[in-house]
Symmetry: C2
Subunit: 536 residues, 2 copies
Amino acid sequence: MTNIISIFDTTLRDGTQGEGISLSADDKLKIAQKLDALGVHYIEGGNPGSNSKDIEFFQRVKGLKLNAKITAFGSTRRKNSTAEQDSSLLRIVESGVPAATLVGKSWDFHVHTALQTTLEENLSMIYDSFAFLKRSGVEAIFDAEHFFDGYKHNPEYALAVLRQAQEAGADWIVLCDTNGGTLPTEIHEIISRVRAELTAPLGIHTHNDCELAVANTLAAVGAGVRQVQGTINGYGERCGNANLCSILPTLQLKMDYRCVSDEQLQALTGTARYISEIANVHMPVGQPYVGNAAFAHKGGIHVSAIMKDSKTYEHIRPELVGNKQRILVSELAGQSNIISKAQELGLDINANNEKTKAIMERIKELEHQGYQFEGADASLELLLRDAFGNVKDIFKLESFKMLVEKHNGHMNSEAIVKVNVDGQSVYTAAEGNGPVNALDNALRKALVQFYPKINDIHLSDYKVRVIDEKDATAGKVRVLIESTDFNNTWSTVGVSSNVIEASWEALVDSIRYALLGMTPVFSQDEPRERLGLVNH
Amino acid sequence: MTNIISIFDTTLRDGTQGEGISLSADDKLKIAQKLDALGVHYIEGGNPGSNSKDIEFFQRVKGLKLNAKITAFGSTRRKNSTAEQDSSLLRIVESGVPAATLVGKSWDFHVHTALQTTLEENLSMIYDSFAFLKRSGVEAIFDAEHFFDGYKHNPEYALAVLRQAQEAGADWIVLCDTNGGTLPTEIHEIISRVRAELTAPLGIHTHNDCELAVANTLAAVGAGVRQVQGTINGYGERCGNANLCSILPTLQLKMDYRCVSDEQLQALTGTARYISEIANVHMPVGQPYVGNAAFAHKGGIHVSAIMKDSKTYEHIRPELVGNKQRILVSELAGQSNIISKAQELGLDINANNEKTKAIMERIKELEHQGYQFEGADASLELLLRDAFGNVKDIFKLESFKMLVEKHNGHMNSEAIVKVNVDGQSVYTAAEGNGPVNALDNALRKALVQFYPKINDIHLSDYKVRVIDEKDATAGKVRVLIESTDFNNTWSTVGVSSNVIEASWEALVDSIRYALLGMTPVFSQDEPRERLGLVNH
């Protein structure tokens, strides 16, 4: 049997069924290009029979000349009708896609309850629809909905459904665990029985309702399946679909299957993060393989072992999937994390030094107040440099004032800042699209004459988090700001019970960091070199 | 073999190794009580040898008289020393816990690289430490760190390590997949071999680096392990530990094992959400079993099938784990979701009605602007009621003004509002602990004379999300506010490029909703009845 696994991505179709996910046609086209670069074999774009956005996508995607096969999604024909008269099937063929997936019922209960037709009519619906697609020259993939539940209740009927699709010429038969309730042992056993009955190549499509979608997919591949359906970051209905970001590296790095090239696999982390940005869904920090904490070390013992050999607490080299190692700073870490970070900055720090003890205490106290430096490397670096006295005082705030007004339905925001640069007092004001933007504008306006370079910096992300949720609007907030100057990205933090003050703090740190000409501690490409620096 | 699985919770120890998680002694005591109510058998509280917070926890937890065994965590004795002189082991015994877990090395590579000692000394460290614990009358659990990696590299040594612990009297031998890189098939095979060599009862401790921690735990139980270690919500180092919130219901509802009582299992969702609040970690909306979207239906076809029989798209009854079904509103859902929601409100809505079409269009347009009603039931209800003209006009905003000032390091926030209640204009001002709090205070101050009941309402959560992250501080933000009057909880949404205006919108919706005397659409206890309402 071949060890090549065909990867079928349904982020653009099943992924958009997830709560809070909504993609425009433009978004879908951007994502399709990223998926193609990652090397997936099929990109399911949507349902051309269901809405104008998807019709637009299928028209425009042709111009991109992707390597992946663009596929359309639809259902088997309506009951008591013909495939030739089914507007949804006609739309699929008209969309000009090389491949299409049709979902059909394989659980008798669903035929009765949801379709409300006879078992025989459902078989005809499947046969007719696939025969129609094949006559139209389209590669045809059958999604056998609820196959495992159906097989458990009525194995004869579930198999009869698959045989209909096979006889009508379906190129792939994909077994779906639609409700996500099946266990890996069941998946393996049922697929082994199906393989004895069918000749068509099989695929697997799982959902994560038991946190087993990845395991179920791997079990299916182990049982002989050769197409894997899933989504980037596991987006999808309810608890999501099988997460390709976990499946691809495990199949390829641990199970000797081939899905994409080694170079393409290194694009995995970037692809996952890009798509989470476009989909505007927060990526869990601990997401396997691609999360920001997937190779982050916090425990002090772990950190000291990692410095001796990263294999001690890393199951793969993070670079293989385009991720990187990080050392976190926190109260649990003892001193070794902070020391290793300071050493990278070339600061004279060691556990017996009084200055070192003082800065450790200061970090503990700030964390107690709600600061978190795990996600704010630049603020931590400023703190360490300030403690060791090697930071130039770029500017001093004397005062600021913010005014936000709503009158006759019209909003207005302005900020007035008074800063002191090298003994020179600058007093200026700016308007903005909201209060934080007004502050940002006023501060830049005050500084640009001294630091023209400030025009190269822009804020790329702004996050607000309520820390003490018990007190709601009177609680403390933590603001995280991510900034970029096109080459580098750095993050800063501010904490206050006042969202404006917290934003101001993070803003000031961001600009100080940039103007000092610092570069981020951890650059994307050289975690090895970094480790080398602190080897002892 | 018994079908009873002993549940060992390490949220308070390994869970706190997760990025962004930090728990005070008070937090730990609150969580311990919830875990005890859930019925876990062991609660690992921390490491009494490592910090004063954990020492305080172990002292105070005795007063709570919990059913679960409180356990302390530590390492085997230091190299080239004795157990009797090991301060960390002494602290464990002094803490008075009935049970303790000691981690020891079972991978020869780690003995050489991390411990930097001989294989023989490591065996002695394990034997001495367990003999010491047993002499001290403590139930002793051996965490065999990196056992699976160790077994793959040097099975003889890995087994010799386990035998040392067994001979010294360890009550449980727990096999750890510390780096999270092992596959379910490997777990099953290795444990089967271990069982042939040992008599002590076995446990399993997995990490989620391949998104397989749950599957690996289930595979281990299938191979004969009878203790499961994990954390609530899967918190833990890097990608986290095995998630007990997924393991408990799967073992108990799908695999015929017994972990806790059926009533305790119904506390699962509440426990998971409570702990995520205390830990201040956002719970992924699609978290299996306990997430807010775990039984949420968005696709139009799914929704119409769910209304016929919820088994069509739900793998278990959500009530079994204390969760509930939700119908989401979104552009994908076609009209059936909105119609079902409106019907529950008793509104005269149907697909052919002009008003219905208009409100559908309005919802689509608002979603396009960045509103999301999936997490803002109360705002959606107001929108639907407004459209059908059965909402009383409680008050009208004429204008507001916000002033935030920083001067001499001192912050000041004040809000001035002008509202009209029943033709009467009210003009008032208030200070606050930040701008949104000042607005909230001013609005309440203006309304309390007309609606004294407003004092019963308070805001329980306030979230800010940047929608268009490309524009950073100039981008749009979405504010979600959760409010409660002790009996009910409801959520509202506001969107603007100005965080103050977005907060104001959500605030106004929240207060309007409350003052109208409405109750939330979905009350926690009666999703069945709700479905009954719309059955047809």
